[in-house]
């Protein structure tokens, strides 16, 4: 009697373990179709929630330099700041190509915001740079403009919705934590914005292309499976 009940419980344990494995494997196989259903809803929700108002700054004393982890996918590209030009083109009436001296003369915006990584960590950082909005104004986007693409010197690529791109806290930054932006953090220019996850904030940005359509290649990590909107 006792032996029999032991056998049943052993069988039950095996059944539970088997069911668990099936669920685990199915979870990996099905994540993509699940995302195809849920991501459009979540992206719509993210766009709806996005406030055009700036989020409150943290005090400068709150910065956490030791918490900022350096992530890149191909290492640090070498860029000569003397010959560097930022190109803004696409669906604009006035394509521009700006050197760093010109960009440094534009209004400098400083903000202390939290950078949140998709991996789960976060760091409060002070950023200094120009508003992307101000740069786009120079190029004068066409009324059909809906998306902004960012190409980086290391081959990384990203695309953003226009509303997030013209947010008052979306910067092309060249200062970090009170100093010149270090090369490993994206010098000479990188995207910095509290409203997007870290993978949306391209480093070493060399080209900004305004488009009216979302192109098939939407972003390095997005093309591998991450959500495109990535709002916070």
């Amino acid at each position: 009697m006792l032996e029999e009940s032991n056998k049943i419980s052993r069988r039950q344990i095996l059944q539970w373990a088997g069911a668990g494995l099936v669920v685990n494997v199915a979870g990996t196989l099905l994540y993509d179709p699940i995302g195809r259903i849920s991501m459009p809803v979540n992206e719509w929700m993210g766009a709806l929630l996005l406030s055009p108002q700036p989020t409150p700054d943290f005090p400068i004393s709150a910065i956490e330099p030791d918490k900022l982890i350096v992530n890149s996918y191909r290492g640090v590209p070498s860029i000569d700041p003397a010959t560097f030009k930022l190109k803004i083109s696409g669906a604009v009436t006035n394509p521009v190509s700006l050197d760093l001296a010109t960009i440094h003369q534009m209004p400098l915006i400083s903000m202390v915001t939290r950078l949140v990584c998709v991996e789960g960590w976060a760091a409060i950082v002070q950023w200094g740079g120009v508003r992307l909005r101000d740069l786009l104004t120079l190029a004068q986007p066409l009324p059909t403009a809906k998306y902004v693409y960012f190409k980086s010197a290391d081959g990384y690529y990203e695309s953003w919705d226009l509303a997030s791109s013209v947010h008052p806290q979306t910067l092309l930054a060249y200062q970090m934590n009170g100093q010149d932006l270090p090369a490993e953090n994206g010098a000479p220019l990188r995207l910095a914005a509290p409203i997007k996850l870290g993978y949306k904030q391209s480093k070493w940005v060399t080209e900004v292309v305004v488009t009216s359509e979302l192109l098939p290649k939407r972003g390095y990590w997005e093309d591998l499976g991450y959500e495109w909107f990535g709002g916070l």
Partner: protein, 201 residues
């Protein structure tokens, strides 16, 4: 015998059983996919920290875990909202959650079944703050900028992450206590009443 079980006051409407099952399954999905996300950068110790074994994670990698987590949150959240409206609408909240009678019973009653039932209702009621904590801390991490007023209630980011993670052991502890008590009260009739979708005649 079966008619007695069917007419028992413990018999639950199908809608309650559906709420219960959807909650159970979606919470299971939230926990396993949440542990997958956790592994990208463990709450305790960062990248070199304590990782969760892959067998209890869902999604295969970070993007997969996030897809499941942010799909399942709708099922979980909407089910909970529907349940909340239901208990409010049917006035069920009046007699399902812990009441002063339960506390009196624990102090005074020598009836072990009554005492068991009081414990059952106390534990059952505890899931409400646990689920509210899960949602508040989850929303704070999901939209820390748009819901900055909510996120700021949790202090710094590490505290927020820890609070959200704590919902996992709390839910597991709850599940253990709640199911033990449900199986114990009325010789398992409560458990049967809430879990069996079809009455066995």
């Amino acid at each position: 015998m079966s008619t007695i079980v069917k007419k028992s006051p413990l018999g639950q409407p199908s809608i309650v059983k559906i709420f219960h099952w959807v909650n159970l399954i979606s919470l299971f999905g939230m926990i396993t996919s949440g542990l997958q996300i956790y592994n990208a950068n463990p709450v305790f110790g960062g990248r070199e920290g304590i990782h969760i074994p892959w067998v209890v994670t869902l999604g295969g990698w970070l993007a997969g875990g996030r897809n499941w987590h942010f799909a399942m949150m709708w099922v979980y959240g909407l089910n909970l909202l529907a349940y909340g409206l239901y208990i409010f609408w049917t006035k069920r909240w009046r007699d399902r959650f812990v009441a002063t009678g339960d506390l009196k019973a624990l102090q005074a009653s020598s009836n072990s079944k009554r005492r068991n039932y009081a414990w059952h209702r106390i534990v059952y009621t505890s899931i409400i703050p646990i689920l509210v904590l899960a949602i508040a801390s989850g929303l704070s991490m999901y939209q820390p900028v748009q819901f900055y007023w909510l996120a700021s209630l949790f202090g710094d980011w590490q505290t927020l992450r820890t609070a959200h993670f704590m919902t996992v052991p709390l839910v597991l502890l709850f599940t253990f206590l709640h199911s033990s008590l449900a199986l114990g009260v009325g010789e398992g009739k409560i458990a049967t009443a809430f879990l069996k979708l079809k009455n066995s005649n």
